[in-house]
Structures are given as structure tokens and as C-alpha cells.
Symmetry: C2
Subunit: 214 residues, 2 copies
């Protein structure tokens, strides 16, 4: 985030932001498939070829902030307290990502709802999103295992992360696909969505067989 000191680096960062801004603007106005990379490049006043030296593909530009968000989650795990349970740390890490990413008013406040809409409507974007999700889960699992080497082996860590993320994501998608106006749903009644997601977390934490045990 610390902007480089050289002119070169500042210029690069400016171009990068211009590309992102132009892309989001065009995606929102015209639609994803209707926006060509040439359009985006033109919007940022660079050549089409230059686009590809900033982003390896069209989808990638939608996830420009992903690494940053993941870093937050990793930090949470690394800074665990000595009495923390693995589950608590993991839930906390995941909540942080969601709070900063999907809540509204932050730096990427405008990007998040657009991204969510595109994920649920554009196959190419959905594929890219799922790939990132999977790799994020793997990395979270590694971190979690490292943070609790005596409590979780590799497989348990992977299963734990998978169960939690799987429950939340599948619930999220189920909600999004069930209503035709995603933005309105999120903007209009964010609390309802959060409540459903909390139930999903609960299912994962207590186990999908919990009901049978009562």
C-alpha cells in the first residue's frame, strides 16, 4: 500500500488504478461481456497490449484487492492468543474478510456488490472466483495447521476450513441466487443476510449431524 517514491512507480500505480476504475465503470454500465479489453484500455488511456502487463486476464481485474484481504485473515490467525481455540480463530479470520469485503462504505465498497453480481451471472467470473476461493482455503488451512500444530494435522485443518467456508459460501450463493435483486437485498437488509450466514457458521461449528445429537 505504501506508494513507491520514484516517478516510475507512482505512474505505474496511477495506470493500475485507472485500469481498475475504467473496468469497474464499464462493467457496471455496459455489462461484463459487452466490455472488451480494448474498451478498458482506452478508458485508461493505454494500449490494449499494456492491459496485459498489469493483469494477466480480464477476470483478474475484478479481484485486484484479494491478496490484501487475505493478508488480513492470515494476520488474525498468526496473532492468535494462547488460549484461543482453532475454530474461534478461524471464524474470526473469516468474519474479518467478509466484514471488510462485503460490507459497505470501505475503500472497495463499490466493487463488492458489483463483483457479487458478476460472480452469480457471468460464468467466466464465477470460475475465477471459485479458483481463488479454493486456493484461499488451502492457504488458510496451511496457516491454521501451523498455528495449532498440536491440535490439527494437515488433513483436519483442510477439512475444518473446507467445512466452514463451504457452509458459508453455499449459503451465500443460495441466498443470492434466490433473490433477483442482489444489490437491493444487500443494501436494503444486510442484517438479514448476516443472520443467515451466522446460522451457516453455526451448522459448520456444531456439525451437520448436530440435530441428531439433541
Amino acid at each position: 500500500m505504501v506508494t513507491g517514491q520514484g516517478l516510475r512507480e507512482r505512474k505505474k500505480e496511477r495506470t493500475r488504478q485507472a485500469l481498475i476504475t475504467a473496468a469497474l465503470e464499464l462493467f457496471a454500465r455496459r455489462g461484463y461481456d459487452e466490455t472488451t479489453i480494448a474498451d478498458i484500455a482506452a478508458g485508461a488511456d493505454v494500449s490494449t497490449r499494456t492491459f496485459f502487463s498489469y493483469f494477466p486476464s480480464k477476470e483478474e481485474i475484478l479481484f485486484a484487492d484479494t491478496e490484501e484481504r487475505l493478508a488480513l485473515a492470515f494476520a488474525i490467525i498468526d496473532e492468535r492468543g494462547p488460549t484461543d481455540e482453532p475454530v474461534d480463530v478461524l471464524v474470526r479470520a473469516m468474519s474479518t474478510i467478509f466484514d471488510r469485503a462485503e460490507r459497505f462504505g470501505a475503500a472497495f465498497g463499490r466493487a463488492a456488490p458489483l463483483r457479487l453480481r458478476l460472480i452469480s451471472s457471468v460464468p467466466a467470473v464465477q470460475g475465477a472466483a471459485l479458483q481463488r476461493l479454493l486456493s484461499a482455503q488451502q492457504r488458510l488451512a496451511v496457516r491454521l495447521h501451523s498455528a495449532f500444530p498440536e491440535r490439527l494435522d494437515r488433513v483436519e485443518a483442510a477439512a475444518t476450513v473446507g467445512a466452514l467456508v463451504g457452509a458459508v459460501v453455499n449459503t451465500m450463493i443460495s441466498i443470492v441466487d434466490g433473490s433477483d435483486r442482489v444489490d437491493e437485498l444487500l443494501a436494503g437488509d444486510p442484517e438479514r443476510v448476516l443472520a443467515e450466514l451466522r446460522r451457516a457458521v453455526d451448522v459448520a461449528v456444531r456439525g451437520i449431524g448436530a440435530a441428531a445429537r439433541e
Copy 2:
């Protein structure tokens, strides 16, 4: 599966099979990216354009049997006994898919390991696989909710399916990525893999917070 009676339909089915066979053969020998659609079409003795009237994209041809396998899982859910617990039915359904799909010797015995290898090495294939996985989860959730309307509402069903599938898939990937020779691992010691997957199921069933409750 019932082959049509007209000459026309039989011919179509033959072409479809020829395309699938040619594609798998080429993917296995040359690699996915190195195989063009023109190559596949040539291998099946049709024009490139014709390929697209059978499969909407290059990835799709790798998942030609998916619907069939899903139907098995749905049947399991629909045929639940009156005393069955939701979790048991779901686990049974998922196991059925895995047994028929990833075990070795069945009709698609040759396709499954190739597919797995491509999923873990070719981004485009991975994206397609994950999309199918997600949509399969959604459909499983709907079925599960229908089968147990009084036990699970929509959100619970989505969370339940997500947790189970998430745990298993993330574990699977973690195993696959951890070893460089996927085929050898699966062929050489399938029991070890199955044991790990059973542990993943256990994590999901008992809850990711299970350890803390003991």
C-alpha cells in the same frame, strides 16, 4: 441411455462418442492446452464448427458424464427410508458419486484419473469443475430440503451440503496437491485416500468445534 431408434439418432450418438474419445485420447497424449478443438474435430472426422453443436466449450467435453452421476445421488436422496437422518442420506449420496466416479474399473474408469489430473493442473478445467461442483451443491441442497422439509429449511440444507462437500473437497485437493503423482497415489494406495476422506466427513458431521466439546 436408450439409444434412439432412427438412423439419424444413432449416427449422432456415434459422433458424440467419437468426439469424447478423440478428446480424451488427445488430452492424455498431448496435454489439454496443446490440443485444439480443430484437432479433436479432426480426430472425430467432423468439422470444427460441428464440435460446438455437441459441446458448448472445450472444457465441457471432460464432464460429459456429470449429469448421469448426479442423477445417482439424487435418486439416493429421493429414496430415503422413513427413519433415515438427513446427514446419513447426504453422506450416502455423496459416497455413491465418489465410488462410481473416482473408483477404478467402471465405465468411466479411464476418464476419472485424467480428469482429476487436468483439474489440478489446468486452470480452465479447474474453473469449470468448480462451477459444476457449486451448482451440484445447490441442487443437492434443494433435494435435501425437499426430502426433509420439517427437519431442514433452505438455509440449513445449503449450509449442511456446503459443509460436507467443502470438507471433503478441500481435503481431497490438499491430498492431491501434496503429492506430485496423482495417478500413482490413487492407483497405488486408494485405501489411504479413502481413509483421509472419511476423516474429513467425520469433521463435518461432528462439527469443526468437536474437539473443544470433549
